[in-house]
């Protein structure tokens, strides 16, 4: 009885999404957290003309709420020794990783879709450039955060202070990606120049790190 990686991945994603759908723990706290960030920022900054800082604001909200989701996604597996079971099972580690990444990716994308109208309402947001460009930036930017984040979350659950380690590991590595997605978002919102150099850079970042994650995940999963 052998299952293909695709099928195993689909099983993993469905399991994660079903668990999340039944409890909605992670999604609700992410959503609430992102909402809090929006409110806190409106106090912290003068939001008269918010467009120049909007790119940074949106991504900070998503960056930190993604952190919450990532921490939870592996902690769930740890509770009943699922990770150990996975380690001894013949299923390839890549399918577990890809399943987790896709599950988190869908979750964060959903969060972004829910949050977008709120940003528009609270900050009177109008996009200067075409919206589909913004969609491309968000698809790539979220992937860059989630793929590295899932990898480093798997690494940080192996440490003593689990939840604390993830941002310490993830943020320095992600700085170039954060920089380019913030710039690209700001450019599209302001509609003054082309975001493509940044989008290309972001795409390169995604390709390089997705490869690195897949090559090294099995080593991290089995680290003893």
């Amino acid at each position: 009885m052998s299952l293909s990686i695709t099928r195993l991945t689909v099983v993993n994603v469905r399991k994660d999404l079903r668990l999340e759908w039944r409890s909605r723990d992670v999604f609700n706290s992410m959503l609430f957290f992102a909402l809090l960030v929006v409110v806190v920022f409106s106090y912290a900054f003068d939001t008269g003309d918010s467009r120049p800082v909007m790119g940074g604001l949106i991504w900070i909200a998503f960056l930190f709420s993604t952190n919450m989701a990532l921490n939870q996604s592996w902690a769930r597996e740890l509770r009943n020794g699922v990770l150990d079971a996975y380690r001894v099972s013949p299923a390839p580690a890549e399918s577990l990783f890809l399943g987790k990444v896709l599950g988190n990716y869908l979750l964060v994308l959903l969060l972004e879709c829910v949050m977008a109208p709120l940003f528009v309402v609270f900050y009177n947001l109008k996009s200067g450039g075409p919206l589909w460009q913004l969609a491309v930036v968000f698809l790539l930017g979220t992937w860059a955060l989630v793929v590295n984040g899932t990898f480093f979350a798997a690494m940080s659950i192996r440490t003593k202070n689990r939840e604390l380690m993830l941002p310490i590991l993830l943020l320095p590595i992600s700085l170039p990606a954060v920089y380019s997605m913030v710039e690209a978002t700001s450019i599209v919102l302001n509609g003054d120049s082309s975001p493509w150099p940044y989008v290309k850079f972001l795409a390169g970042f995604c390709v390089i790190y997705t490869t690195a994650c897949f090559l090294l995940f099995e080593i991290v999963l089995n680290a003893e």
Partner: protein, 281 residues
Amino acid sequence: MKSKLFFLLLAIDAGLLVYGTYLGLVVAPREATMGDVQRIFYCHVPAAATGFTLFFVNFIASLIYLWKRSAKADALALATAEVGVVFCTVVLVTGPIWARYAWGTWWNWDMRLTTTLVLWLLYVSYLVLRRSSEAGSTAVLAAALAIFSFIDVPIVYMANRWFRTNHPQPMIGTPRLDPHMQNILFFNMIAFLIFGMLIAWFRYELQRTEQKISAAHIQRAARGTAMALLPAMFLFQAPGSINPHVYLYGGYFSAWGIYAIYLLFLMSKLGKLKKEEAELR
């Protein structure tokens, strides 16, 4: 043998460092616009070169560790990362001191400055991971992170190239750098590279000692467990086959053993409390 070579090299390098500093501070020609402050160059650039070299060695050692799983490669990776962070810190401290005079500000988010800072952050997070991961998995996790960090360096550099750069362009080997200055810079670079390698070597030896000690601890714990199991043999003996005196002595010894242990515990507690009281007075 090893330490003899180490101290010999250290003595030679101490001479090189002193002479290099003398060259930089006294002999080197005075720069036309920045004056004497420019002489920071002779300790800033060599520190940067040394730090980056050490990070490169860290990357290679991490790869070797993942491939061969040798404790030596792991010790080398730790040593080079830690010493690299020290040199990188020197770069990040001397740079702003110079910039305050030359640019009028301590810092700007220029390409090279940002790259160096991110590099520093990456390797500090590497050291944090080493400190807080579970004992058995530290080396593997750290090696994986080291590879990620090293991949990040060129990416960070590329990302920052879109900023307009204020930092002086590389001048080595170009006619813009006075050959006299260049020679002094090279001299200092070699001195600092050797210095960095020697500190990393020292740190490596420390780490090896630590690894050996922890291996010895595990051995001793295993022996201790075996010793603790010996009395249990007594329990498995058939009751008739043991001399009755063994029971008698066994009972007495275990009773007094328990009393003694408890008394020792009380004494140590008393000692601790007395010490604390004395400290507070």
